[in-house]
Symmetry: C2
Subunit: 204 residues, 2 copies
């Protein structure tokens, strides 16, 4: 009997560094999560690659997939669609593999409705002013958009209560290591292991 | 404001290797738990040092401390008393330090009554036959005592439900690393961190 894999959901306010942390995690040798690549209608930023960072799709294509119920979550965010295709996630979990999602807050809440057993990790800025600095120095946004993002971020921080864990992104390496520890700990949860031991006792 | 430390309780069946795992954890450079040394009336085994492995006391001394309410838990186990002195634990927690207890199952259940917020880790044998082998090869027990311990161990494994985590002691280094991960994850729990962020939002 294969034990079902863990669904690990990394989310957090815009600009907090979710993508950077996700990339750093998957560059490590000792990580064996499967990464579920999101789908989006926004334009690729410089350096982003289709099929690696996101599947970049037109709005028409995206809407068609929504109609076919092919997302475990999708959201409209700052005028674009983002979503997580369902097939790959279900396949991995049923094969006992841990699946890692890096998604926006709106989407994470939808995933929680469908997969309440998932491990929900909120990536948090060390402070809101630090968040502002990060968004500003990304250099691709207008002042209005930045202010808008700050307001959104404050609301999102208040959404922390929907999550199991909060990981501060003070240093990328530390954040990665905390996330890896959370996954190890979740695999050690008594609720997951009790059944296996119950079977062992019955065999003896 | 100092955040209160975590109380980490490592317990598990007799012979599973609690002491070995505890020693291995505290030999690591990157561990900063405080170790709460237990008190016992049993005789030191070969190599055990008073004030390092245990505080070894007479039954009269131990009973006097029970009367003065100086234990957060104590138990009689295979004809001897074991207990955790209260003062050191309380002092560390209030200073924000994590405290590590390695205790018998009976004691762990008492600690859980007094410190339900503690992190309760059950160290489990890879299998009961492996447990039997370990007890047999320790070479200091009679056959009756071994059989008695096996019965006790089966009961103790059924006590797993009182714990938050189950760590298999398949390899000492792996068990240590899982325990360290559990402590990191517990520090990231949303319930612990939410208040800090709430204060941050109010300041902004």
């Amino acid at each position: 009997m294969i034990e079902r894999g863990l669904l690990i959901v990394l989310s957090g306010p815009s600009g907090v560094g979710k993508g950077t942390v996700r990339k750093a995690i998957f560059s490590k040798d000792d990580v064996d999560f499967e990464y579920s690549i999101s789908m989006t209608t926004r334009k690729p930023r410089e350096g982003e690659v289709d099929g690696v960072d996101y599947f970049f799709k037109s709005k028409e294509e995206f809407k068609s997939l929504i109609e076919k119920d092919k997302f475990i979550e999708w959201a409209e965010y700052v005028g674009n669609y983002y979503g997580t295709p369902v097939d790959y996630v279900e396949q991995c979990l049923s094969q006992g593999k841990d699946v890692f999602l890096e998604i926006e807050v709106q989407g994470a809440l939808q995933v929680k409705n469908k997969f309440p057993e998932g491990v929900f990790i909120f990536l948090a800025p060390p402070s809101l002013s630090e968040l502002k600095k990060r968004i500003t120095t990304r250099g691709t946004e207008t002042a209005d958009l930045i202010n808008n993002r700050m307001t959104v971020a404050k609301e999102e921080i208040e959404m922390m209560d929907a999550y199991d864990y909060v990981v501060e992104n003070d240093e990328v390496d530390l954040a990665c290591s905390r996330i890896q520890s959370i996954v190890v700990a979740e695999h050690c949860k008594r609720t997951r292991i009790r059944e296996k031991y119950q079977r062992m006792l019955e065999v003896e």
